[in-house]
Symmetry: none
Subunit: 253 residues, 2 copies
DNA sequence: CGTATAGACCGGTATAGACCATTTTGTGCT
DNA sequence: AGCACAAAATGGTCTATACCGGTCTATACG
């Protein structure tokens, strides 16, 4: 067991090459972004692509199906595969994190990192992220401010194996969502939230500079990627007097 | 071209059978819903399922991948395929009134009408409903209970001119949404909500049988009909310790 | 000239088999 | 009893092939 640490180190450094279908997917994305294919233009057929990349047609299909899921392309039986029209509002395709949220309200967001480390997952966290209990998770605890006034305490948990180099970023400056999107190519589009009103506990009173008794809104959010895989589990406490949660409801289509 | 209509008719009548993988998918969904598999319980392995359904493993995988995309199941290499925790999404994305909401959580909803009258609209109410200030509005104040325990105080305001006979109903028994739907033919499909955590005031402490200090979630909701016309403006106060707001967020498309 | 129709091409579905990395289980040794 | 290691089981990836029904086009027919 002498080399376990070293092995883990190497395993993390030299990450395994992506599977073929992901390489093909990335190649097609790059080609589309480079303008090789205009919106609504036909891509080479699956059989042609399988020749070009020298893989079986099924492997090409796996790449294409993934792109369809991400909304990059669409298919028509008998006609071909086409580049999807670019989204009108690209920012709205991502879920808004704290920074964008505050900005949208006209505030100036800032953050103070209280904790940024790797810990063993508590049972609740492991269950939410659907990882084995006690496995390593990144813990990122931040105090969130709007115009230099404390607004929320936010504890984010992410599976370490998936984002080994995440903590090299300075999250007092960078947005977690932005890093996940740009460095890991994740499109965060779905989340489940639970909101609850409680009387602030001692820690919340101290960090949010409240005077007891005060009310806080506790939020728990589970964000999943386009494959439905849990990406982050966030526990937040918002000052009740400075934060209102607005959203629109719409009945089942 | 004489028989085109007949051909279309037959084509619609005799719809093609679903592909195998969709049949398998539906079968698994039915089994899960029927309770054959509890949340986080392991499903039969892909190889077992391919024997049971007498199809190839790839076909089973196609069904399973589709279920993963839908968030119904999740997979873990080397371990198996598991039923996902039930989605909040389903019913709660639709616009529900208090009664349906409580029922969906397994509770027995009831109501006590505290006020049911016609008053002149306060400025805030008039602005929300987009009617002229001081015009008449129906005010319906109800204490909402789940299993006979106070859960919320709800003040609903509706424009009187639009629902003159509304107060002939007994809203201790009938659901406001049901009456609006059946008697006025309204399909309530859109609403805007604002949530806020506050320390309960004296009235809330008394009505909700709280012991101060306690936290309540104040909600204001503006419901509009399919024409975008405001229908009701509701101010609610939910006991923080008995009510959690769950909902799904989805970006883009 | 218009129009059927055959054939080529397209994505969608399905098969059978192979190998991989991860995880659990079982076995046999100390 | 405890532990190391092999074996079994699992989902993930990939190949090669086949057939289906929808779509388009060129060609032959009336």
């Amino acid at each position: 067991m002498v080399y376990t640490g070293l092995y883990d180190f190497m395993r993390l450094q030299r990450q395994a090459p992506d599977p073929l279908y992901l390489q093909i997917k990335d190649g097609l994305i790059a080609a589309i972004r480079a303008g090789d294919f205009a919106p609504n233009e036909r891509l080479p057929s699956e059989r042609e692509l399988s020749e070009q990349y020298d893989v079986s047609r099924m492997t090409v299909r796996q790449a294409l199906l993934s792109l369809v899921r991400d909304g990059v392309i669409y298919t028509r039986v008998g006609k071909g595969t086409f580049v999807a029209a670019p989204k009108i509002d690209q920012q709205l395709r991502t879920l808004t994190g704290f920074s964008q949220d505050v900005q949208a309200r006209g505030g100036r967001p800032s953050s103070r990192v209280l904790d940024a480390d790797v810990v063993n997952a508590a049972p609740e966290v492991a269950a939410a992220l659907r990882i084995t209990p006690q496995s390593e998770v990144i813990r990122l605890v931040r105090l969130r401010l709007s115009d230099d006034l404390p607004l929320a305490v936010e504890k984010a948990y992410l599976p370490f194996v998936r984002f080994p180099g995440l903590l090299t970023h300075d999250f007092a400056v960078e947005s977690l969502y932005a890093v996940l999107e740009h460095d890991y190519g994740l499109a965060l589009t779905q989340a489940e939230q639970v909101l609850e009103a409680v009387v602030a506990d001692a820690e919340e009173v101290r960090l949010l500079e409240l005077t007891a008794p005060a009310a806080v809104m506790r939020m728990q959010r589970l964000t999943v990627d386009s494959d439905g895989e849990p990406v982050e589990y966030v526990l937040s406490s918002y000052r009740g007097d400075r934060y209102k949660f607005r959203f629109a409801l719409q009945a089942g289509r």
